[in-house]
């Protein structure tokens, strides 16, 4: 296929508007719907059971739990009509899981698949740690890119990463998906992935700027993107292929992890093209910004 010269930057205004709309929706949703924090972060108890046969309604289990003086709980199917998860968030007086299981056993035949209890203290600590990890990751990246490239690229990469993180968070908030530790890990992986993309694109932009000093910035960026679009799409495609395999075959436990990564990879691919290059153009990046410093050893010429 011939992708040698596509004017990616022709639609930069439209994509800016699109990005802003998506980010506004994400932030709005984060404020209104909030994040549906999982047990890892809120603390509480979780019991997953597999019944010996399918049941059509969870009402009976709900009523049974209510009769045990539990009010704030969630009962859901977990992957099939046999698998049920019961969640009691922290805050309520600690529940006696074994008593609960005994009571349920009087009415249903099941096997306990998983049982978790997380103290409220641990939960809030994990939340803080997670946020800290996110910030640390972003900060280290910034420094690395400033060192390897230049501050305009670092700013572009930072905006792209913030964009991606917000979109994934917004997606989870908008569709009220469970936000647990594995999703946090996925978001950090998305940061890594999106950055990977950003650096590959930036690398080529730098190379083209250095090759043709006089050319117009927009043309140089368009050329770089056209040269890299094949690689960008193929890598995103192969990554998405395995993620879809994870989503389909990985089971309920890692389905949210896969979803977060899928959304993140798509957003990351888009942002490494539009957010990064848009920022570069807005900051009026020129070839002078990328002059080779004497100390830098870079194989830039023909062999």
């Amino acid at each position: 296929m011939d992708l040698t010269n596509i004017s990616f930057m022709k639609i930069r205004r439209q994509t800016t508007v699109l990005s802003i709309i998506l980010i506004v929706i994400s932030i709005y949703s984060l404020f209104v719907n909030k994040l549906n924090f999982g047990l890892d972060f809120t603390g509480g108890s979780l019991i997953e059971i597999r019944l010996s046969e399918d049941i059509d309604s969870l009402e009976e289990i709900r009523e049974l739990l209510q009769s045990m003086n539990l009010n704030d709980f969630q009962v859901n199917y977990f992957g099939s009509n046999k698998d049920i998860s019961i969640k009691v968030p922290g805050g309520e007086a600690s529940i006696d899981e074994s008593l609960l299981i005994q009571n349920l056993k009087q009415y249903f035949d099941f096997e306990v698949r998983r049982q978790e209890f997380v103290g409220p203290q641990v939960g809030s600590e994990l939340r803080d740690q997670g946020g800290l990890g996110l910030l640390a990751a972003l900060a280290v990246m910034m420094v690395y890119i400033m060192f390897r490239f230049q501050y305009k690229f670092a700013l572009g990469a930072l905006l792209a990463l913030i964009h991606d993180v917000l979109i994934v968070l917004g997606f989870f908030s908008f569709f009220s998906l469970d936000f647990d530790l594995s999703v946090l890990a996925a978001i950090l992986a998305v940061i890594g992935y999106s950055l990977n993309d950003t650096i590959v694109v930036s690398d080529r932009v730098r190379e083209n700027f250095r090759k043709k000093r006089r050319s117009d910035s927009e043309i140089a960026i368009n050329r770089s993107l056209s040269q890299m679009i094949g690689r960008t799409l193929i890598t995103s495609l192969t990554t998405l292929l395995v993620l879809i395999a994870l989503l389909i075959f990985g089971g309920e436990t890692i389905s949210n992890f896969s979803i977060a990564l899928i959304v993140g990879v798509i957003s990351g691919t888009y942002s490494s093209i539009y957010i990064v290059c848009n920022t570069l153009l807005s900051l009026k990046v020129t070839s002078e910004d990328l002059m080779i410093r004497k100390t830098e050893v870079l194989d830039d010429g023909m062999p």
Binding site: E48, E92, A93, S94, S98, E111, V112, R113, R114, Q115, E116, F117, V118, G119, Q121, V122, L126, Q129, G130, L132, G133, A136, A137, V140, M141, Y144, R148, L181, S182, A185, L188, A189, I191, G192, L195, I199, V200, D203, Q227, G230, R231, I234, T235, T238, T239, L241, V242, L243, A245, L246, I248, F249, G250, G251, I254, F257, L261, L298, D299, P303
Partner: protein
Amino acid sequence: MLRFQLWKIFLVFSVLSLGVIYSLPNIFPPDPAVQITFNSSGGSFNDRVVENIRSNAEKKNINFLSVENDENSILFRTNNYSDQISLKQHFEESLDNNFVIALNLAPNTPEWLKSLNAFPMKLGLDLRGGVHFLLEADTDLLVEAKLESSISNLKRILKDISLKPAALEIEDTSILISLNTQQDADLFTEAFQRLNGFELEPLNSSDYRLRLTNEELEQMIDYAVLQNLNTLRNRVNELGISEPVVQRQGAKRISIQLPGVQDTAEAKKIIGKTANLEFRLEAENRTSLASRVERFPFNGREVNLEKKLIISGDQVSDASVGYDENGFPQVNISLDSEGGAKMHRSTRNNVGTKMAVLFVERKSKTELIDGIPEVINFFEKRIISLATIQSALASQFRITGLDSPEEASELALLLRAGALAAPMDFVEEGTIGPSLGADNIKLGIQSLLFGLGLVLLFMIFYYKIFGLIANLAVVLNIVLIVSVMSILSATLTLPGIAGIVLTIGMAVDANVLIFSRIREELKNKLKPQDAISAGYDRALITIVDANLTTLIVAVILYAVGTGPIQGFAITLSIGILTSMFTAILFTRMMVYFIYGRRKEIEKLWI
């Protein structure tokens, strides 16, 4: 002609052969097994005991593959998980409670691999089932105890210099002292230097607040948690489970993983016991002040005991169950030298007085305080024995008057395994059923194979011969990840498998970068050989840059994360490193083998 140095070929082949050998143990799936060990009462598996248990299992008609045993345990290998469970249930019903029965996964590593020190990866709890706990030390009580002992120290110091304070008391986490005169205050500030670990904060000319220094506090907690770690290890070992993990997590927490255990309650009973013993003298009415005695019920009457301890359970060095002349259970106790000396000093002058053994257990209950549920910790103390001291005791003596052999063996276990330096609360616990573990392995491998298949097909379709080479690299990359995990004896978890799957997707990126560059250079009318060299050389910088950043993220993930996140971070970082090796060095070598030695290449299959 392409160039590829000989030493690089040598390097690639040695790494790959090491990788294959050390990943091999993982293709022999372990057998679900049931492991039987003696509990704390001890015993050894001689031929007779083994034969008994074996015939007991055969009677029940449950299939098992083989029986292995050594002095300390017997292992029944079974065909599948349902046989394993029914065998375990059968043993639980038929064997007496001298035995500990646990589920296990018995590795099938062939001898020649074992001799090379090659072992399979460890599987995390989410893949093999089991119980995990996270315990946190209650440092408030530790501080309280420290303040109490410090205040008596301080009293002694003040007595030494004949200083009488107007008031001396504990307030929250500090000690308050009021002095009568300025002169006293000066004397006090000088004497204060002899009290370690406190800082002095003057409130006004005569009142001072004594606060524990941060270093002292940290050191205290650190010491207590380390000691608890030791105690918990002992206790977990008493459970007789294979491959338990007991490790410190952060400043105040200890995490425990017990693979193969399903019964949280039983494990919790032993691990969570914050019981201790106190040995005290009975207070004689005429000599004792009311403030120095404590009342306890015992056998329907009230007993006055001295508040002061002779010794506590910490000083017990060994304890075992025995029976007295009348067949009643007793616990034989050995004390360490310090405990023995204290015991001797106290009992020598009190022959004829009674000595009580108090069982102290920390419990918690939830109470509504102003409508908000709050967990309240309290100590439950009861007298388990009260006997007249016949003669001065030393470091060897016995406790009698226990209700049952079970109580005796539990007490002996707790004394032997040691007391906790600071009480610990369960802040997290979880159980994963063995069937969920097996399912998770199945799901993980399924998604791995499916994802791999899709990527392999796509690469061949898009890059032809080069795609095939990249595919070989991806497969070898998985082999290398597995072998590195095995060598490091890292634990594979479900998020870990997700990390490997993700690495597959990203590992081809390096090759995509190289190949698209080669295509580009071909389009620029470069000769095939030159295009190959240029493709590899130019893409290298980009690949290193891109992978390094992802590696940084993985390291941060590992540093701030716990359990599942770390599992993911480990495989991701290993995957990034190995993929750089396979995607750059290995593929270049393959390209060299195919195209390198020809003088003229007409066309590249790319």
